[in-house]
């Protein structure tokens, strides 16, 4: 029942620990990941946004520049024609100048392929010359052209640009009129084939696939790289779309705008005005191409972000592992040390607080091991020390009291008479019963007298008094203990005899200096006394008869006044040269 509960507790503990470990790892991972990833992300997004804005501004500038440059080129195309025409209005009209005017006009036709015809009008607005590539020329037709809008327009503004006219609803033409610096030089009115702007407009490339096109004031297409669009004429729908385009760019205060063009393609378009003719040039670039740098920048940022995030993830994982790894090691170490494996050491070499903590743990485990060893030793000592002595040793915290020393001790030996014969004829149960009763009786006496049982073997045992714990009047105490021993054992003997066991009990005591201390090895340690006094006590015990307590002269001297003694004369003992006086203690 208890074991089951323990098991459950352990499982519960394991479970909670597992959860705790995971969540700690997750927390560390999340925090570290956010710490690296969020700034990275913020930086990347910021970067992308700003690069988008920069690119957009750049694109706007680029397209506006393209539009302006296209406008300038078309403007210079028109200006070129105007400049060539101005050659025909240098001289005043007179009979002599007639041929010169004609040559000038023919020269312009030769020089400018876009000019289809030239009409020269004198200062009064009378037509003087008409030269054409297609129609028959006229000389001095005398037709009054002063009411022509071209003539009156040029007269008031020096240069007059007519509206765009679509010949046969297809080819764009316009009229340009140029006046000389004096009224007398007259006015040149030229018909221009605007299809030749194609050479200019098709040479303008915006980016790789972008282009420019030109609209007149009402919004009709004048020039486009795809000449077919111009020649097909501008229908109402296209016209509205073109006007809307112009309106939207105006609304965006001239900035480039994104719009769907006539071909249904999404383009970025900017606009510029051509001075004089009152036309508009539009530079457009497909959105996909215009935004290609932005897109590639975004891809680049995305790639960097991805790489950065992966790096942040790896770093966070590594750091979190580095944090939770030692914690787990510590946890495991604690568990093992708790389970009694004091030799277990936690190996952490992180060089930080964790390593310090592990070192502390290891030191603690060492101390625990030492302390456990000590308590084990004390427990061992208790077996042959009187409880008081054991307590003393325990209290002292060490076994210094058991260290080898010279001390005045009283050695007490006792054994049973006739035990060998009894044991030879009795069963094991009887023998163990007898010995059990015997030791129980003697043990209580030895404990009562706080004596030290040093050894026992079969029926014989040795007890020391005044070592390792000194006591007052050790001689008397030893003898009194011997008397009590005789008393309790004789009680037993009475019982044994009734059962037919011929067993007696004798005690021998001697007092004198002896070397006392601990002997033995590793786990087998005993406390004993070595010296003449031990041998003597043993010899005395051997010579004692049943019920007899024999003591040596030194002890006899010590207790002479307190107990009745009987001198038994001298006896020779094995190992002793001289005969020794032996005394018997009277008891009972």
């Amino acid at each position: 029942m208890q074991a089951t509960c323990l098991d459950q507790c352990c499982v519960a503990m394991d479970r909670s620990r597992g959860k705790w470990r995971r969540s700690l790892f997750q927390k560390y991972f999340a925090v570290l990941f956010i710490a690296v990833g969020v700034p990275l992300l913020a930086n990347g997004l910021g970067d992308a946004w700003f690069s988008y804005r920069d690119q957009r501004a750049l694109l706007n500038t680029l397209l506006r520049t393209e539009a302006a440059s296209a406008a300038a080129r078309i403007g210079s195309f028109i200006d070129g024609i105007k400049d060539q025409l101005s050659w025909t209005v240098r001289q005043a009209w007179s009979m002599e100048a007639q041929d010169q005017h004609r040559f000038d006009a023919l020269g312009v036709l030769r020089q400018v392929p876009a000019v289809v015809s030239i009409t020269l009008v004198d200062g009064d607005g009378i037509e003087r010359l008409y030269v054409s590539r297609i129609d028959l020329n006229r000389t001095a037709s005398g037709v009054d052209r002063s009411r022509d809008p071209a003539v009156s327009g040029a007269r008031s503004a020096r240069v007059w640009y007519g509206p765009v006219i679509y010949y046969h609803g297809s080819e764009p033409y316009m009229t340009i009129a140029v006046a000389g610096n004096r009224r007398a030089t007259g006015i040149a009115v030229a018909e221009i084939n605007l299809k030749l702007i194609w050479d200019v407009i098709s040479a303008i490339q915006v980016g790789h696939t972008g282009h420019a096109f030109v609209l007149d004031q009402p919004g009709r297409l004048i020039a486009h790289p795809d000449i077919s669009l111009v020649l097909r004429g501008t229908n109402d729908e296209t016209l509205r779309a073109m006007r809307r385009l112009r309106h939207e760019i105006d609304a965006a205060s001239g900035e480039a705008i994104t719009i769907k063009n006539a071909q249904g393609e999404t383009v970025v378009t900017a606009m510029a005005a051509i001075p004089g003719a009152d036309w508009m040039v539009f530079a457009e670039q497909p959105l996909s191409e215009a935004f290609a740098p932005i897109r590639s920048a975004l891809w680049r940022t995305g790639g960097l972000l991805l790489a950065g995030t992966a790096f942040a993830g790896a770093l966070a994982y590594w750091l979190a592992r580095r944090m939770t790894g030692p914690i787990r090691q510590l946890e495991e170490g604690t568990e093992r040390i708790g389970a009694g494996q004091f030799d277990h050491r936690i190996k952490i070499a992180s060089g930080d607080e964790f390593e310090r903590l592990a070192t502390r743990f290891n030191r603690m485990a060492g101390e625990l091991a030492v302390s456990q060893e000590r308590s084990e030793r004390i427990a061992r000592l208790k077996r042959f020390l009187a409880p008081q002595v054991a307590e003393l040793v325990e209290k002292a915290g060490d076994e210094s009291v058991l260290a080898g020393q010279r001390a005045e001790v009283a050695a007490v030996f006792c054994d049973l008479r006739g035990f060998t014969a009894f044991s030879a004829q009795s069963g094991p149960e009887e023998i163990m019963q007898v010995l059990g009763d015997y030791y129980e009786a003697l043990g209580s006496v030895i404990t009562r007298f706080e004596a030290t049982l040093t050894s026992f073997s079969g029926d014989g045992l040795m007890v020391l008094v005044n070592a390792p714990v000194p006591c007052a009047d050790p001689g008397l105490r030893a003898v009194e203990m011997a008397i009590d021993m005789q008393k309790v054992v004789q009680n037993l003997i009475g019982g044994w005899r009734s059962r037919g066991y011929a067993i007696g009990f004798g005690v021998g005591l001697a007092m004198g200096p002896a070397t006392v201390g601990r002997i033995g090895y590793e786990s087998r340690v005993e406390y004993t006394a070595i010296g003449n006094v031990v041998n003597l006590a043993s010899r005395l015990c051997s010579s004692a008869e049943n019920e007899q307590i024999l003591i040596d002269p030194a002890l006899a001297e010590a207790v002479r006044d307190k107990l009745p003694l009987v001198a038994l004369g001298t006896r020779r003992f094995k190992g002793y040269d001289k005969q020794l006086a032996v005394f018997s203690v009277s008891h009972s």
Partner: protein
């Protein structure tokens, strides 16, 4: 190959239409029949790799059909160095490699046009290319489905070839030139060259009489104070007689009306004119190059070069009816000063000023 290259070097200039080649060939008419056959065999193998390759190459390769007046090996449009072919090359087409050229010839006969056109449209073609009004009509009659790209002499709307210039609508498109409008202009230029001229002999081909050239000429002559006498010539052999007759009638100059036969007989006309000491005003610049005194027309080289643009658009999926018919933007006045000197004609400064090409 070598023989063809030599022929090109001798006869051909890039912007010269078929007439020049034909004339060139005529000029060398003294050559033996054997030489001629060798030459033909040579050109057949070399100039028209598309024809040879046409049978073996895959159908995915675009096929262009050329309807020619002159024999195919001499056809102006099918020649690898013609402005049209150059235009195709500029647009990335390589005849025989990325595009197949098929050619059918009328054999220099109006009657042959219909047959050649019918022959041509039987092939699986993507587009038919022609270089003149009669060719356009023949092609148009032969097919109403295969796109036709051509040079149109007159008014394509009036001639029933297109609904309008902006949106032709049918299967024909191309470049038009002011053939009829320029008739009066040519006569005016002739008058400017020869201010004293009063009688002009006109060479006309009855096969081209559906075009209003004769009426235009007569109207302009009236305005310019010139008397014109029209001579109908439908066979090259009749040219000599016509010139003799004009001289006998007291014509001071010859006015050549646009016609395919005259175009290919330009060299003979020039020779006859010189022989009869008659200043000649013609149209295509090659007339002047071959010895006629003067020629004025839209730039044929530029126009045939432009045809490549239309072919490209059609091969890329555009409908011919959606491709506006363009009008010419460049005109060429060519004057042969050698002929002028031979005839004792003084070319006025104003004309020299206007001339785009002066042959000295």
């Amino acid at each position: 190959m070598i023989c063809r290259l030599a022929a090109i070097l001798r006869n051909h200039r890039p912007d010269r239409p078929n007439g020049s080649q034909v004339a060139g060939r005529r000029r060398d008419s003294m050559r033996s029949i054997r030489q001629r056959c060798l030459y033909l065999a040579c050109t057949l193998v070399v100039t028209l790799p598309g024809v040879a390759a046409g049978q073996s190459t895959s159908t995915s390769m675009p096929r262009i059909g050329v309807l020619a007046w002159a024999p195919c090996e001499e056809a102006w449009l099918a020649d690898i160095s013609s402005p049209f072919m150059r235009g195709l090359g500029e647009l990335g087409y390589k005849p025989g490699e990325t595009v197949t050229i098929e050619c059918r010839s009328a054999g220099r006969r109006y009657e042959g046009l219909a047959t050649a056109a019918a022959d041509l449209v039987r092939l699986p073609l993507d587009v038919v290319v022609g270089d003149s009004e009669p060719v356009a009509h023949a092609a148009r009659e032969a097919t109403a489905t295969i796109p036709i790209v051509t040079i149109i002499s007159g008014d394509p709307v009036g001639g029933g070839l297109a609904h309008s210039l902006a949106k032709p609508g049918g299967n024909l498109t191309g470049v038009t030139y002011y053939a009829t409008e320029l008739t009066a202009k040519r006569l005016e230029l002739l008058k400017e060259l020869l201010p004293e001229v009063t009688t002009v002999g006109v060479l006309a081909n009855p096969n081209a009489s559906y075009m209003p050239f004769e009426e235009d000429t007569k109207r302009a002559a009236g305005r310019l104070g010139i008397t014109v006498r029209v001579h109908q010539v439908s066979e090259p052999a009749d040219l000599k007689g016509a010139f003799s007759q004009m001289k006998a009638e007291g014509a001071q100059a010859v006015f050549v009306l646009p016609d395919l036969m005259f175009a290919s007989e330009a060299s003979r006309i020039a020779d006859l004119a010189l022989e009869h000491r008659l200043p000649t005003m013609a149209w295509g610049s090659w007339f002047a190059e071959l010895g006629c005194l003067m020629a004025y027309s839209s730039d044929y080289g530029a126009m045939s070069h432009r045809l490549a643009f239309y072919v490209d658009r059609i091969l890329k999926g555009a409908k011919p009816g959606d491709l506006p018919i363009e009008q010419p933007t460049t005109f060429r006045l060519s004057i042969n000063l050698k002929t002028a000197e031979a005839l004792g004609v003084d070319v006025p400064q104003s004309l020299l000023l206007l001339a785009d090409e002066v042959i000295e």
